[in-house]
Each structure stands twice: as structure tokens, then as C-alpha cells.
Symmetry: C2
Subunit: 440 residues, 2 copies
């Protein structure tokens, strides 16, 4: 993409309203724009990151056996009355009256609707297990939205819902998601630690939050340092292997890890001092088993092998891609700007033309642009008529993993400069070597 034909509105000044670094950088690097309190537009490079995160989430959900569908944003209040949550949910629910005076709401979560879909179609235990998920915009009318997309009112969430004939089946479904989440966060370049968690308004008695450590995190967390080196389950993990998945989950829950709400001083004290981690964390995922909390009142039952009707055992499993964009930046930035992990960078390469209008420079850039595209790389080509210093600053700010600096001086020696954003490491290479260095 040529920057002159793109829409990448960066800001020179730090926006006053931004209290944390990810919010500041997302505004400055042109990822988002606030439209109302807690409501954002995703500008082109922000949307690209959001889509890349969602794609990784989707791949790992599918790998674990979950099936994607898409529920609408607007729901009927009557559905929420069936679970008694319509009155219970409070002011965070955005309540709406339509032109026919029907009470509607903007979905903050989808337990009721998915249970309604399930009971409409599924009759027999033979159709279980089933895990249905969607990636859809949600709305929670936070009293004080803040921290940009970390705690916004309109936000993107992947929410999955599992249905099983009994608790043992539900446990396996829970473990599938547990392992899928470990893989998802690792692929996003994050070290996420599963911690015992409160279940809050979702309900239920088994729950883990997945937390990444970041100095700006909103919660205090405590855990054993060994978690940071635990191996991530591989792509060929057999999600049908009940015992195998349980072994993985047992290992990942064998050491102490808890948020402050669940913190146990005595258990933490028992960890050797050099293995203690007491830090701040950001919740990036939350999984729940809540049994028949929704299936009983909403009459979501199936016929079991015994010929009897059984309410299904359910769990729900959430990841917020829009929150993850901010969390990843909290975990990966420096003074100059964002440092994108390779798998979710909006572009792979910033190609910087230091002297637009110089024939040799323009030609070298055009050649690099084509050569990198042919190798499957997505290149943002800064072809603007701007000072080199401004271009370098923009490239550091927006944080693509690689930069190529092309100017008459280097080209006189047949060289361009390749810079790795994360390390700052620079190499002078021939054009062909630069392509090989980046495309591998």
C-alpha cells in the first residue's frame, strides 16, 4: 500500500485524554478515533490488527472443534426475562425501546440467545458435545469508560458456548477451550497465565481468567514464575483426547496463580522467594463452567441414552479482540512507539523512500515493493513528499516489524538499510539481500 493513497492519520502530540500508554499510542499511531465516550472507530491499520487477532482466535476455536455462527447485536428483553437477568443486569445493559414500544437491548453477552438457539434445534444427546461461538460487537454501558479500547462501551468479543449431556462432558469442553486459549495467546505473542477467578454475573463454580503481566494492568496478580516457561500445547494436540487434555490443564493449574480477589497469602508464601511473581496484570480471556444455570430456567434439554430429558451442562468462554489490541501494545512498545509482534502487525514492512523524486531511489523502492509483495509480504510504502526525519518517526510510531530505508547515499554503494523494529538492529544490504533477509 502506498501511504500517499492510504489513510493513516498520525498525531504529533500526546492526546490529553489518554491515561495509559496503549491508549496514547493507539490514538497517536492512527489506530482508533473516539466517536463518543467509550465508542471508537477503527482506522485502517487498527482494523487490520483487529482482524488479524480475530483470525487467530477463529483458527484456534475451529481447531478445538468449536463451530462459528453470528448472533445479532440487538436482542429481545423477553429472552433475558427467562433467565431473570433482565432486571438483575443493572445499568450496564443498554436498554432500547423500538418503534412498536417493544423492549430490546444491545447484547452485553449471549448466554440467553445461544441457549434459545440450542433449544430450538437440538433434541438428542447424540448431537452433543456442541460448542458454538461468534465474534460480534457487544455493548456494556460502563459508568466510566476509560483506557481506550481496554475498557470501552462498544467492544468486540469472541464468545463461545458449550453444551454437554453431563458434568464430565462439560469438563472436557472446558478443557478444550482452556487449551485453545493457551495456544491463542501464545500465537499473539503473549504470555498468558490462567488464574482462578470469580465468576461474577455469569455464574457457575469453575472459572479461569487468562492474565498477561503488564505494569499498567488494572488488577494485582500473584503467581509462580515457572508459568512463564511452561511449554504451549502444539498445533497437533488431539482435542478429542480426554485424558491428554486433562493432563495439560492439570499442569497449567498445578502451581499457584490468583488474582487479588482469590488471593491466598499462605499459599503464595509457600512459593520459594525467587519463584514468586507479584505483579499487575491484564485480563485477556475468561472461561466459565456454569452447569444448568441457563438450561434449567430456559428448558434447554436433550433426550439422554436413558430416554429421559436432561438439562444440558453449559460453559461460556470469552476473548475480547478489541481489548487485546490494547493489551498487546501495553506488553510491546518502547519510547518511540508500538512494536508489533510479527503475526498481528498491520503491515510486515515499512518501506521508506528517503528522497522522493530521485529516480534511482524511486526505482529501487518500486522494485523492493514488487519483490516483497511477490514473496507474500504486505508493505506500507512511504512515498510521501516529507522530511526523512518525519518518515522515520512515523515508521517507529506505527511499529511494523521491519523497516527498509532507501536513499541516494546508500544506493550509490548498492545498499539499502534494513532495520528490525523490535531490537533497533540495522544492516546495510543489497536490495536482493534485503528481500531475502525479510522474506526469509
Amino acid at each position: 500500500m502506498r501511504l500517499s493513497r492510504y489513510f493513516l492519520p498520525t498525531l504529533r502530540e500526546d492526546p490529553k485524554e489518554a491515561e495509559i500508554v496503549s491508549h496514547r499510542l493507539m490514538l497517536r499511531a492512527g489506530l482508533i478515533r473516539q466517536q463518543s465516550a467509550g465508542i471508537y472507530s477503527w482506522l485502517p491499520i487498527g482494523l487490520k490488527v483487529l482482524n488479524k487477532i480475530s483470525a487467530i482466535v477463529r483458527e484456534e476455536q475451529n481447531r478445538s472443534g468449536a463451530v462459528e455462527l453470528l448472533m445479532p447485536t440487538i436482542q429481545s428483553a423477553d429472552l433475558w426475562r427467562e433467565s431473570s437477568r433482565y432486571d438483575a443486569y443493572g445499568k450496564e445493559m443498554l436498554r432500547i425501546t423500538d418503534r412498536h414500544e417493544r423492549e430490546m437491548l444491545y447484547g452485553p453477552t449471549n448466554e440467553e440467545m445461544i441457549t434459545d438457539i440450542f433449544r430450538s434445534y437440538v433434541r438428542s444427546y447424540k448431537d452433543l458435545p456442541l460448542n458454538l461461538y461468534h465474534i460480534q460487537w457487544k455493548f456494556r454501558d460502563e459508568i466510566r469508560p476509560r483506557f481506550g479500547t481496554m475498557r470501552s462501551r462498544e467492544f468486540l468479543m469472541k464468545d463461545a458456548y458449550s453444551f454437554d449431556i453431563d458434568q464430565a462432558g462439560a469438563r472436557h469442553s472446558y478443557n478444550r477451550m482452556f487449551v485453545a486459549y493457551l495456544r491463542t495467546f501464545a500465537r499473539l505473542g503473549l504470555k498468558a497465565i490462567p488464574m482462578q477467578a470469580d465468576t461474577g454475573p455469569i455464574g457457575g463454580d469453575l472459572s479461569h481468567e487468562f492474565i498477561i503481566l503488564a505494569s499498567t494492568g488494572e488488577s494485582e496478580v500473584f503467581c509462580h514464575r515457572d508459568f512463564l516457561d511452561f511449554p504451549i500445547p502444539t498445533a497437533d494436540t488431539d482435542f478429542d483426547d480426554i485424558a491428554g487434555l486433562q493432563t495439560i490443564v492439570d499442569k497449567w493449574t498445578s502451581l499457584y496463580a490468583a488474582t487479588s480477589e482469590k488471593h491466598d497469602e499462605a499459599a503464595f508464601a509457600a512459593i520459594p522467594n525467587d519463584r514468586k511473581v507479584s505483579a499487575r496484570g491484564i485480563e485477556v480471556g475468561h472461561i466459565f463452567y456454569f452447569g444448568t444455570k441457563y438450561s434449567l430456567p430456559m428448558k434447554a434439554t436433550v433426550t439422554g441414552p436413558d430416554g429421559q430429558e436432561h438439562p444440558v451442562h453449559m460453559g461460556s468462554y470469552g476473548i475480547g479482540p478489541s481489548r487485546l489490541v490494547a493489551a498487546i501494545i501495553e506488553a510491546s512498545h518502547d519510547e518511540a512507539g508500538i512494536v508489533w509482534p510479527d503475526p498481528i502487525a498491520p503491515f510486515d514492512v515499512s518501506l521508506i523512500n528517503i528522497k522522493v523524486g530521485d529516480t534511482a531511489t524511486d526505482e529501487a523502492c518500486a522494485h523492493l515493493y514488487r519483490a516483497l509483495a511477490l514473496r507474500g509480504l504486505d508493505v506500507l510504502y512511504d512515498d510521501r513528499d516529507e522530511r526523512p526525519g518525519a518518515k522515520f518517526a512515523t515508521a517507529d510510531l506505527v511499529g511494523m516489524p521491519w523497516q527498509i530505508l532507501v536513499g541516494p547515499k546508500g544506493l550509490a554503494d548498492g545498499k539499502v538499510e534494513v532495520k528490525r523494529r523490535a531490537t533497533g538492529e540495522r544492516e546495510l544490504l543489497s536490495i536482493e539481500d534485503a528481500v531475502t533477509r525479510i522474506a526469509g
Copy 2:
């Protein structure tokens, strides 16, 4: 995907509420489920089609030079007061009051918000032309939602917005979209004819609707038959070629074509009788040029080459992917069910195991499933323990382009049956020939 692990809830009976064939088939084939009046969940195969349509729309938008971003669904009423549309829009706008008593709304369209984004960042004519689009859920509180996703309340729309320094530039931007739309509909397997149209509440004085002919269409249309054979602009069309694009648009507007609102009996009478088409049509796209209608009141100006401030000339360009799913089914079905055009079919192949549990049949199916996947094909494998008749009916109903029927009788001769859904044509082929026949 193994059907036993998928979620494809088909219905045996015709749903009573469905008045038109696409609505009936979308419910019966398990594409959608109504959650409230005019509000639908997209079940797995419905979502796959919706995503494939959106992907084609996106590719053609990008090819034409438009840049994707994503605006939120919830907007502030104040923004709409700036254009005076807040009061003017009427009851179709879903109005919302948040917990702080602020007036909000669920966006029915985005002219105001995109103009606000534009004016926040763009200062100079040097940054033009610019065309920004998004693919986002919209809500219009129709008094009588009907025809399924053809006229629903919550619906998916691609809306693009162009910004130019003057009318000549805006005309070229309009032509870019005109040509992108011709390509988009052709790739979706549709013959869409651009027709002069009313501009309605969007405003402006240049507008075309893209209409496909279908006996169940909601509007009456009149056009010259030659449109049906006009060549579609190729993928290598140069969208920067002002004269070249104008030539294409001139050709596509050279013959008579109009909806009933714009119908001119005299002009239609002048067409030779054997070239007259008077039919029903479905609107699948609508493009508008409206000049400074929004930029003037909202003060979206740029500095021109003359150093003066100029309000930008704008256009907007809509395609509804959720409506297109229904429109494509209206145009492509038979008595037995849906007949998906290849590019948007949810799966490429229905693989039907006629005798589950028969070792040779199971092995042949497993082999075909792997071999087709290796060739890049997406296969829905009916591995359920069901009567063959029910499996054949399901396969016809859900309408994948190819079916492979595998049973002990054919396998005894080393053959499987390959059926092309659109023509009903059947061939007995060896397993390897079947793969080659389908994968090409």
C-alpha cells in the same frame, strides 16, 4: 467438516412466516434463525456465505482504491443534528438513551460520522481523492420487516464514502465505484443492471441503483435487453484512468434502464420490441453523488491549490451483503433447494456416505475427504447415521455445487457418483477421477 460435528439445523417443513422463496430456503436450509422481528442469527453455513460475499465486495473495493476502516454501530445524536438529519430521519432510526441520559442511535448509515472523521484529520487537497468504506451492521427500524434478510431491521452493509476537491474529481470517484460494482456483482454470479434512481433521504443529484432481475423482486423495472450481454470490466481495469472509466460508465448508461419511479414510457417505447425487458427487480446496490450536502453544514473543508478553503464533494456507495444472500437465492434455486454459485457456496462439495459403518464406504469417504482437502476444497462430509434419501434431500436443499455419493454398490465397481447440483448431471467415476473432475 464432518456433519456429525457441525451445526446444520435443517427444517423438513416450510416455515409459515416465509412469503418468498429465499426466506423459506434460508430458514429450511439452516442459514438463519429469526430472533426478533427483522433480526436474525446467521447459522454456520449462512455465515460462511455472508463472509464469502463480504470478501468479494472487499476485494473489489480495495482494487478500486477504496480504504477499509470500521465505524461503530452506536452513534451520537449530536452528530446527526449537525446535518439536520436527526429530526428528519423519522421512526426508522433506532433512538437510544444511555445511562447518562445522552441521546444516541444505532447507525442506519454513516454519512455524518465519516464526514466527522474526515474533517478531523484531512486538511489539504493533496490528500485527495480519498474513499473510505466499512462493512458494518446497521439498523433500520422498518415498520414491517419482511422477506427475511431481504428487508430486515439489523442488516450488514458495505458503505463507502468518497471525498474530492471538486465535482470533476467526485465524478471520477463515482465512476470507480460504478465499475467496482459491475465487477462485484458479476463475481457473485449476478447480472446487475445500473438504473437511474431516486436519491431519497441521502440526497444528491446523480444516483444509480444496481438491479438484478428476479420474478420475486419488489420493484418493477424497465430496460434494454442488451445490458444482459454487456462485457464486465476485467480485473486489470486501470481505476486511475479517468477517460477509460468514463467510457465504461458511458456504455453502461447508454441504453434505457429505469425503475418504475424514474420510468419514461416514451423512451421505453422507442426500444425495439424484441429488446424490451419489463420485469421485476431486486436492488442490490445503490450509489450517490451528493456534492457538498454534508461537507457544507459540517464544515468538512480542505485547502485547495489556490490557498482557499473548499468544502469537499462527496458521494456514498452501498451494497448489502446480508440482502445479497437472499437475492442470490432468489436468482439461483430450484424445487429441491438452493443452487449456490461456485464462488460463494458455503462448501464446495457435499460428500455423502450412503452406508455409514460399511468399512469400504467409510474408507473411501475418508480418502476422498482428505484428497479434496489437499486440493484446497472445502468439503461437508455427511457422516451421519441417516437414511440415504434424507441425506440426498439435505444435500440438494443446502445446495453445494458438487455432490459425491459413495456406497457399497458403486464401490464394488470401483466407482462413486459425482453430481453437479446446478444441472443435475451425474457421472460414475473412479475415486481419483472424481477428485480430478471436481478439483480441475
